[in-house]
């Protein structure tokens, strides 16, 4: 256990940037969990006297056009970022993994399913998400579904590729020829080997979910306007950028640093991954 | 004896501090002579030849010794630097005919490219056709327009030889050029190399792990083990009476056409990896004639009357110790 920890520490030391990224992600999680304790003001406390205050004094990051404390909103924004990330990753895995595995196991079904995935992939990703928003309506949950649909396709493709390769492995073939049931092959051979490619995919999906959600918020088609999400904060700051450029800075930095950290961690996971699957899991 | 065209002495190639892949290799090649360099795979043959060409991969460097081509020191110079300084010419044919040619360029372009570098006077297309004739590729005009994937392995290796000859080399290095080919094609390519060596008066360093090929082709032999040479000599006496126990062991592994015994001998144990080599003779752990002295200090080179050199305390013509 200690040896494991030591080797992990050494790996981190060799990638200082990745370590910083991981630390930042921990910070995001902490501020999401302890938001009420960290934030000095309620995120929606309006204070018309103190509108558009520059950073400093009681307002660490200044205030917005309603006089709401930017720092508090940034802290609460971590909650939404986490919700979106976890939601999109869960949805894309929960739908993409079964589709990919089933397609690999049953080639005829696979041809149909993968064809459908191809069709979905022929839509530029944001248009696909926008189309779903039109059908479902605006909202946090619907944004998760819409972005999740984009990554359903890529996840299913990757899982399909990895599962096909695993199915052709000699030991899996041998198990099958000796009469091992499909369920047994899936749970014993395919899923356990899938964990590391899926972790890589999950971290990239988590990163891009942040960018996708921010774009939807910005277009006014994501989280409802009163929700303190980083994307909404940017959208609201838009008309004040010349007067209050700090409003643009903080939420934007949070989105960038979160996505960048997740990409660093994803790269690190990919470099550690079984080289057999490296060409399947590509951005 | 004519002056050697290529002279390598005490060459050391390292992949890092205290990590020597080639440890003090020396040999000479005369014009028109084929030196066969044999040894098990992983013993450092390719690294020796790449060092001589100035083509070592990044992370691996020459850390000692000298390499002279026609008397000028060319060590640590990459091929294009050798061209710039007007040093003598050397060319190389690699082991993998499938991957050694650029897949998106026509054969003709790849040959002409070499002609342009080395032979300013020649007309590249005419010279390319001439080179294909030299390596016995029929229908040259047509083949020059072909892409590598349209040719067989044997043909591609002939193209590689043509590219090598484009620079009119004084020395040709061939690193296991026939290992990837099947037997009949292998024989044709070997014949071609012998013929070109004689007609162009080139020195050839022919690398292989196959003693049988060396016996057919080479004039002289150098046997390599764990990064160092263990025995050198003219081909006929060396095959008749190997002096180093390792050479003898290798020969015992060859199928004997006069024997009915289908079982092949093997040398017990395996060769040490570059970082496992300790003091003394690297073959000591596997040698049947080993004695205490073999495990200590450097092993001297001894010669017999026919000039056959062996790095061994107890060469085979002497009595074995009790």
């Amino acid at each position: 256990m200690t040896a494991h920890l030591i080797s992990l520490t050494r790996q981190f030391a060799m990638r200082p940037l990745t370590t910083l990224g991981a630390a930042f992600l921990v910070l995001v999680v902490l501020s999401a969990v302890f938001a009420p304790l960290i934030a000095p003001f309620p995120p929606d406390a309006i204070d018309p006297v103190n509108r558009l205050l520059p950073p400093g004094g009681a307002h660490l990051m200044g205030t917005d056009h309603f006089g709401r404390d930017t720092f508090s909103r940034v802290v609460y924004g971590a909650r939404l970022a986490l919700l979106i990330g976890v939601g999109v990753v869960s949805f894309s895995l929960a739908s993409g993994v079964p589709i990919g595995v089933l397609s690999a196991l049953y080639p005829r079904l696979g041809r149909v399913l993968m064809r459908m995935v191809d069709v979905l992939m022929s839509f530029p990703s944001l248009l696909l998400a926008l189309g779903l928003i039109v059908i479902l309506g605006q909202g946090v949950f619907n944004a998760i579904l819409a972005i999740g649909l984009i990554y359903l396709t890529t996840t299913a493709r990757i899982v399909y590729g990895v599962a096909l390769r695993l199915r052709a492995e000699p030991y899996v073939e041998a198990a099958r020829s000796m009469g091992a049931g499909t369920w047994w092959v899936v749970t014993r051979h395919i899923l356990p080997n899938m964990i590391s490619p899926l972790m890589v995919q999950a971290s990239f999906v988590f990163a891009f979910a942040q960018l996708g959600a921010a774009a939807l918020d910005f277009l006014g088609l994501g989280a409802p306007p009163d929700v303190p999400s980083w994307g909404n904060m940017l959208a609201e700051s838009r008309i004040y950028i010349t007067r209050a450029s700090w409003l643009l800075l903080w939420p934007g930095m949070m989105i960038v640093l979160t996505a960048f950290s997740l990409n660093l961690v994803g790269d690190w996971l990919r470099d550690r991954m079984d080289p057999r699957f490296r060409d399947v899991v590509r951005k | 004896m004519t002056a050697p065209v290529l002279s390598v002495s005490d060459l050391v190639v390292s992949a890092g501090p205290k990590f020597d892949i080639v440890r003090g290799v020396s040999f000479d090649i005369a014009p028109g002579e084929i030196l066969g360099l044999v040894g098990e795979s992983g013993c450092g043959k390719s690294m020796t030849s790449l060092a001589a060409m100035g083509l070592l991969p990044s992370g691996i460097r020459v850390s000692g010794g000298s390499i002279q081509l026609n008397g000028t020191d060319i060590i640590r110079l990459a091929p294009h630097q050798r061209v710039q300084r007007g040093c003598g010419r050397m060319a190389m044919v690699f082991q993998e005919p499938m991957t050694s040619l650029n897949p998106v360029l026509r054969i003709g372009e790849q040959i002409q490219e070499a002609v342009r570098v080395h032979d300013r006077a020649a007309s590249p297309p005419a010279r390319a056709r001439e080179l294909l004739d030299m390596v016995r590729i029929p229908d040259a005009t047509h083949q020059l327009r072909a892409y590598p994937h349209e040719l067989s392995g044997g043909m591609r290796q002939r193209v590689m030889i043509a590219i090598a000859l484009a620079c009119r080399p004084a020395v040709l290095i061939a690193d296991e050029p026939t290992t990837a080919l099947d037997v009949t094609v292998q024989r044709q390519v070997l014949g071609l190399i012998r013929e070109l060596c004689d007609s162009l008066d080139m020195g050839v360093l022919f690398i292989t792990h196959d003693l049988g090929v060396v016996a057919q082709l080479a004039d002289r032999v150098a046997v390599m083990y764990a990064g160092g040479l263990v025995e050198t000599g003219d081909v006929v006496p060396l095959f008749a009476a190997p002096r180093h126990p390792y050479t003898a062991g290798l020969m015992a592994c060859l199928p004997d056409p006069n024997s009915d015994d289908p079982m092949l001998a093997t040398i017990p144990g395996s060769a040490p990896r570059p970082n496992e080599i300790k003091q003394g003779c690297p073959f000591a752990p596997r040698c049947s004639r080993v004695d205490d002295i073999c495990r200590r200090g450097a092993v001297p080179i001894t010669f017999n009357d026919s000039g056959q050199a062996a790095r061994c305390h107890f060469p085979l013509t002497c009595e074995a110790p009790e």
């Binding site: 248009l127 926008l130 910005f218 940017l234 010349t242 960048f260 | 060409m53 998106v104 570098v117």
Partner: protein, 315 residues
């Protein structure tokens, strides 16, 4: 090759048909009566009935699809509910902006992404490579609209070098100099995609540099510069070319956002506004055209990739 073209084109057409069914079905998946949604609460029953008939919503579903698809094939994508003009007209109005924006963005992507990727690869491991690779990953993590807002803040509002929004046609007063309206948007749009192409170019250059034939080229005595341009770059670009279909898709997605940031009268902003206006025929029409374009571009990329690589010629 010919048979491949036929097969590949057939597959693209099949995908297009399937995609068109999805696009058509989309209006029927909207909960409630789309006609009411489109017209709002104040609509009279006559207006509703008229729109229903105009959209053909009273016919059986299969027939509706066939009529819609048939019309689309003849270049008729229906009427915009908001503008009351043909959808094709609405698309044509935005086309100039979007095409010029995409072209300019491609110029940045190819002009910066590839050379800088090559530079990073030949300086592999040095500080310049580490800096550029880190920057590329950072850029790939930045929302385009955020880059856009900062560009406006600095270069339009602050320094006043470029206009901050809008785009008058290059056929109007100002002519080609109107292109300056597209400089900031195209830079914002190019940033993440150029970063992607940079990373891809660098990675495939390094892959190719390890190939045996590169060693053969060096053995010939060719100068390192020529080895890079003639042997490494040429083969590495094959992989980069094959990524351009994907880049185009990413570009369209992000153009929707960028056109909104810079208030450009392009097709992307039309989509967003049509969603907010619930102008479903326009949404359907635009998406159909974009998917069609995307499939054609993917087809062309695929075919040119095969043309550039002689190895697949025989298949």
């Amino acid at each position: 090759m010919f048979r491949y073209v036929i097969r590949r084109t057939g597959a693209a057409i099949l995908t297009l048909v399937a995609a068109s069914i999805v696009i058509f079905g989309f209006i029927h998946m909207i909960p409630g009566d789309p006609v009411y949604v489109m017209l709002g609460d104040g609509a009279t029953p006559e207006q509703v009935a008229a729109l229903r008939t105009r959209l053909g919503l009273d016919e059986p579903l299969v027939l509706q699809y066939l009529i819609w698809a048939g019309n689309a094939l003849q270049g008729d994508l229906g009427q915009s509910v908001f503008f009351e003009t043909p959808v094709t007209q609405v698309i044509a109005d935005g086309a100039e902006t979007s095409i010029l924006l995409a072209t300019m963005t491609m110029v940045w992507i190819v002009g910066f992404g590839i050379p800088v990727g090559v530079l990073a690869a030949i300086r592999q491991g040095r500080w310049i490579d580490q800096g550029l690779s880190g920057l590329a990953m950072l850029l790939a993590s930045v929302p385009t609209f955020w880059v856009g807002l900062y560009l406006i803040l600095i270069f339009a509002a602050g320094l006043g070098w470029f206009p901050s929004s809008g785009f008058p046609s290059i056929f109007d007063e100002g002519g080609l100099s109107n292109l300056r309206y597209l400089i900031l948007p195209s830079i914002a749009l190019a940033a993440p995609n150029a970063a992607l192409i940079l990373r891809l170019t660098r990675a495939s250059m390094l892959d190719v540099a390890r190939e045996d034939y590169v060693r053969t080229a060096r053995a010939k005595g060719i100068k390192p510069y020529r080895v890079v341009t003639r042997h490494i770059l040429r083969n590495a670009l094959l992989a980069v070319v094959s990524a351009f279909g994907f880049t185009f898709a990413a570009l369209i997605s992000e153009a929707v956002v960028t056109e909104t940031v810079f208030a450009l009268p392009g097709v992307g902003r039309t989509v967003v506004q049509s969603i907010l206006r619930r102008d479903y025929p326009v949404i359907q029409g635009v998406i159909l055209v974009i998917v069609c374009l995307y499939l054609v571009i993917n087809l062309l990329v695929d075919l040119s990739y095969r043309m550039l690589d002689p190895r697949v010629e025989l298949e």
